[in-house]
């Protein structure tokens, strides 16, 4: 599955600015959405594959990245085949497959911090207009990336515990404790994020912090607390 954790590297794709890569991906996605000719969509696939290879990652890593999304695409295609027709299914599968390849190339060459920064900058105008809280939106993106592997661990732990108690695999029996665990973790993560000083000071309050011990900003430099903790 796409774990969303890009690494720093030296390839051309790594050196491109994250904003440019995301904008390029958005354009490609838009174009793919408007194309419904199977031959044209099929022609996009080699470019997508080339983009993935340009990340410099070994083929095994690339296959790992696309495995789960590929199954999902296959299921979507199967549903279209059964409910609509073969041509629609082919178009949908080719479109999503090409998009997946380009998305993996961007994801593998962009760190989560770069993604979050880019996201925050892109939302800055909306933030200034009071429509969106850009730091919170960027943090949400980061948390989604960070906690995907942990949800997998939670599922494995629940399945193990249930298997030991003789319970066969059962989606409902898995879902209930999983949701409870996720909610409990969400509360604890929120607490930890608060303790780490989130949200950052607004730009108009920024300063270059110094302290007598070369440490954290002195109290007089800190803005008042903006949170109300129940």
């Amino acid at each position: 599955m796409i774990d969303g954790i890009g690494e720093t590297g030296t390839t051309l794709l790594h050196r491109l600015p994250a904003g440019g890569k995301l904008a390029g991906l958005a354009i490609v996605a838009t174009l793919l959405f408007f194309v419904s000719n199977p031959a044209l969509l099929a022609a996009a696939l080699p470019f997508g594959a080339a983009a993935m290879l340009a990340t410099g990652r070994p083929p095994a890593v690339l296959l790992h990245q696309i495995a789960v999304p590929a199954i999902t695409i296959a299921l979507v295609g199967l549903a279209d085949l059964l409910l609509v027709d073969a041509e629609t299914a082919l178009v949908v599968v080719l479109r999503l497959a090409a998009l997946l390849a380009f998305a993996v190339a961007v994801t593998l060459t962009t760190t989560s911090a770069e993604l979050a920064d880019t996201f925050e900058r892109a939302l800055a105008p909306f933030d200034r207009a009071g429509l969106v809280d850009a730091p919170r939106a960027a943090l949400t993106l980061t948390l989604a990336i960070r906690f995907v592997p942990l949800v997998g661990q939670e599922i494995a732990a629940i399945r193990e515990a249930q298997a030991v108690r003789g319970l066969a695999a059962n989606p409902v029996a898995l879902a209930v404790p999983l949701i409870v665990r996720i909610l409990v973790r969400a509360e604890r993560v929120a607490e930890a994020i608060d303790a780490r000083g989130f949200p950052p000071p607004r730009p108009d309050r920024s300063r270059s912090p110094t302290s007598p011990m070369g440490g954290a900003p002195s109290p007089s430099q800190m803005p008042g607390d903006l949170h109300d903790h129940p």
Binding site: I5, S112, R146, R188, R196, A216
Partner: protein, 273 residues
């Protein structure tokens, strides 16, 4: 036997010898462990804040979690023990405003823990029991940078502080590691590095060894022994607190003993039996 607002004023303990000169470390260091733990014994001056609880009550979900707690915490290393549900973690969280008192007041070097929570958190770090709840970014260096960004540090200063904090704990090689590939002990060290990178005067530890194996538990003990920052540690691991300056025993939201470790822990063992 609650001691109320009495402040213990004692000389700070002498610096321990460098970690690698102690026999236990020599035995337990594995070849894969970076051998530069001794940086934690740097020559920074020891620092401490004065944390004052004045008749603090906390009621959570209809239950009294803290009841009329009055304490002055000014020593360098303070342990807090008690049975589950005795109010230890609540007391710790209240210091940084994560829990709001329903009565009384808490100040940290004169700053109100609620009204000035941001300023308090800038000088008071918090290490949670489960590092997976504390680490937000999927790459080590990115996660350390998160806390610094929240406190307004610029990119250059952030990079320097991230490197220094990792080096200090002997995990300088971890900067580009993925969090989900680290062991529990390594994650705990990364979380601690994230706290120390901010240059806090005080670090609050909530059962920091509960998920660690013996090697990592000993490693954390070594860090605690030599860190110049004030440390307030909630623990069930009583051995960890043996050479602290002061240990507080909590029971049903109240302080029932507050003394030197040997005497306080004896009280705790007796009451817990």
């Amino acid at each position: 036997m609650e001691r109320g607002c009495l402040t213990l004023v004692r000389p700070l303990p002498k610096q321990s010898p460098p970690l690698l000169t102690r026999g236990r470390r020599e035995v337990e260091m594995s070849p894969s462990e970076p051998p530069d733990d001794r940086r934690a014994t740097n020559d920074r001056p020891m620092v401490a804040q004065t944390i004052v609880f004045s008749e603090v009550d906390v009621v959570r979900e209809g239950r009294s979690a803290l009841e009329a707690v009055s304490l002055t915490l000014a020593e360098h290393r303070i342990g807090i023990v008690g049975l589950n549900g005795s109010g230890k973690s609540t007391l710790l969280k209240a210091i940084v405003g994560l829990v709001r008192p329903t009565g009384g007041r808490i100040t940290v070097d004169g700053r109100d823990a609620i009204a000035e929570a941001r300023a308090v958190r800038a000088t008071t770090g918090f290490l949670f029991q489960d590092p997976d709840n504390q680490i937000v970014f999927p790459i080590v260096a990115e996660d350390l940078a998160f806390g610094l960004k929240n406190h307004g540090f610029d990119r250059r200063e952030t990079a320097a502080r991230v490197a220094a904090a990792l080096d200090r704990l002997g995990i300088g090689g971890f900067a580009k590691r993925r969090i989900h590939e680290l062991s529990g002990g390594e994650k705990q060290l990364v979380a601690l590095a994230g706290v120390l990178a901010l240059g806090p005067k005080t670090v609050l530890f909530d059962e920091p060894t509960s998920q660690l194996d013996l090697r990592n538990r000993n490693r954390l003990e070594d860090v605690l022994r030599v860190m110049p920052e004030q440390a307030i540690v909630v623990a069930h691991d009583l051995e960890l607190l043996a050479d602290f300056d002061r240990v507080i025993v909590m029971e049903a939201g109240r302080v029932v003993a507050d003394d030197r470790p040997a005497r306080a822990l004896a009280v705790y063992r007796e009451r817990a039996a």
